[in-house]
């Protein structure tokens, strides 16, 4: 987990949806790309949106698979052990057939390896795609889960492996993570060097920030906060951060024109007040990166 090279994996996360993860991830990546190579990874695989803001050509598509058992009628003696073994009810014995529900399978391999007739060899099953989008120094990897699949975690883990295999030379790796604090958020952020929690100064934002802080602590990851729509709502989020010794790395001012331009799918670095927030955030992250690499 500890990086021996000077790679910096930054996760951008939040408890609540719609607080500005995508706004921050895309603009920060674009800012870094002005002077360095940067990798932006969209891990909100159920609803990926980064490609709306990072405009570029899809240079490559990596289909993503998970391993699932495939029933071999010739070998099977219909003993039914596999149905009992599967803790996810992904196998059903319908009379003279074993039916596999690929969408329920967690790829644990138990049924396959414990089958005494070797009648359930594992095969690849398509769960989604990772598109590679190039925009000068910025490379965007967009993970997208197929609509009928119910488990984002397998795809998220795949994307992390893919990054380590093919893009490990990128010093800056920004992971735009799914909202919430459940297993997909943990899978997205758990192996990053730092988690940036984006929140808004409302009771909803504060409630969900506390949950996200709990998750970051559980994973033992260092984290800091960015307050979006700063100036609207109230001061409770700031006070909470101050009282709990949580660093606030940036405050994006509440500005209707930011919302308008975001709605059009535009980046905002040409807007002075916004750019200065991103620039100062970058400097703080740079200090964190250097201190972590010791």
């Amino acid at each position: 987990m500890a990086q021996t090279s000077n790679v910096f994996k930054l996760a951008v996360a939040s408890g609540k949806g719609g607080t500005g993860k995508t706004l921050l991830s895309t603009n920060l990546a674009s800012f870094v790309s002005e002077f360095d190579d940067v990798l932006l990874v969209d891990l909100d695989v159920e609803e990926p949106n980064d490609s709306i803001f990072v405009k570029g050509l899809v240079s490559d598509v990596h289909p993503q698979y998970k391993m699932v058992p495939q029933w071999d009628v010739a070998r099977c003696d219909l003993c039914g052990d596999c149905v009992d073994i599967c803790n996810f009810n992904a196998l059903v014995n319908v009379g003279k057939m074993i039916v596999v529900y690929e969408n329920l399978c967690h790829s644990c391999h138990a049924c396959s390896e414990l089958c005494h007739k070797k009648a359930l060899p594992m095969k690849k099953h398509h769960v989604g795609d990772v598109s590679v989008i190039k925009s000068q120094n910025l490379t965007l990897l967009e993970g997208r889960l197929n609509v009928n699949e119910e488990q984002p975690v397998a795809l998220i883990n795949n994307v992390h492996s893919l990054v380590n295999q093919n893009w490990s030379k990128y010093k800056y790796q920004i992971f735009d993570s799914p909202p919430g604090t459940s297993c997909s958020m943990v899978a997205s952020t758990g192996k990053c060097d730092y988690i940036l929690l984006v929140t808004e100064p409302t009771p909803f934002g504060l409630n969900d920030l506390k949950l996200a802080v709990d998750a970051a602590k559980l994973m033992k990851r260092p984290f800091g906060v960015v307050i979006n729509k700063y100036g609207s709502g109230n001061k409770d989020v700031e006070e909470y951060c101050r009282d709990n010794g949580i660093e606030v790395l940036g405050k994006i001012p509440f500005d209707i024109s930011i919302a308008e331009r975001y709605s059009k799918g535009e980046l905002l670095l040409d807007k002075h007040c916004f750019r200065s927030v991103v620039s100062s955030l970058y400097n703080k992250l740079e200090n964190i990166r250097i201190s972590q690499n010791g």
Partner: protein, 115 residues
């Protein structure tokens, strides 16, 4: 003929459980023997995932000719039931098992096409 009801209890007076995968009980009425046998499905109800296929497995083993339920099986369960090809009648929620049976006998329940 065997008729299966998804229900919230084990009696004729129990209400139909609108849910298929997470139904609490599966009741089988055998019209030839005139007996009602109940299967407790609450352990499946507690599954985090795959309740639909787990219940469908049980239904498959009970092999009814007719299923009377509420919302109808979800996609996964429907795929299992295709192998059994029962007649499925839905929208019986709110009724007791007895009333649902009578309504079915009178031809007043809507049938779900299994496609």
């Amino acid at each position: 003929m065997k008729i299966l009801f998804t229900s919230t209890g084990s009696e004729w007076s129990s209400k139909i459980d609108p849910r298929f995968g997470r139904a609490e009980y599966l009741l089988i009425y055998d019209t030839e023997k005139d007996e009602l046998i109940s299967t407790d499905n609450r352990s499946v109800n507690g599954k985090a995932h795959g309740a639909g296929t787990a219940t469908a497995q049980k239904v498959f083993d009970l092999s009814p000719d007719v299923i009377i339920t509420g919302n109808g099986p979800g996609e996964n369960a429907a795929r299992v039931l295709q192998h059994l090809n029962p007649k499925i009648f839905i929208d019986a929620q709110g009724l007791s098992v007895k009333d649902a049976y009578e309504k079915y006998s009178a031809g007043d329940l809507s049938q779900l096409p299994l496609s």
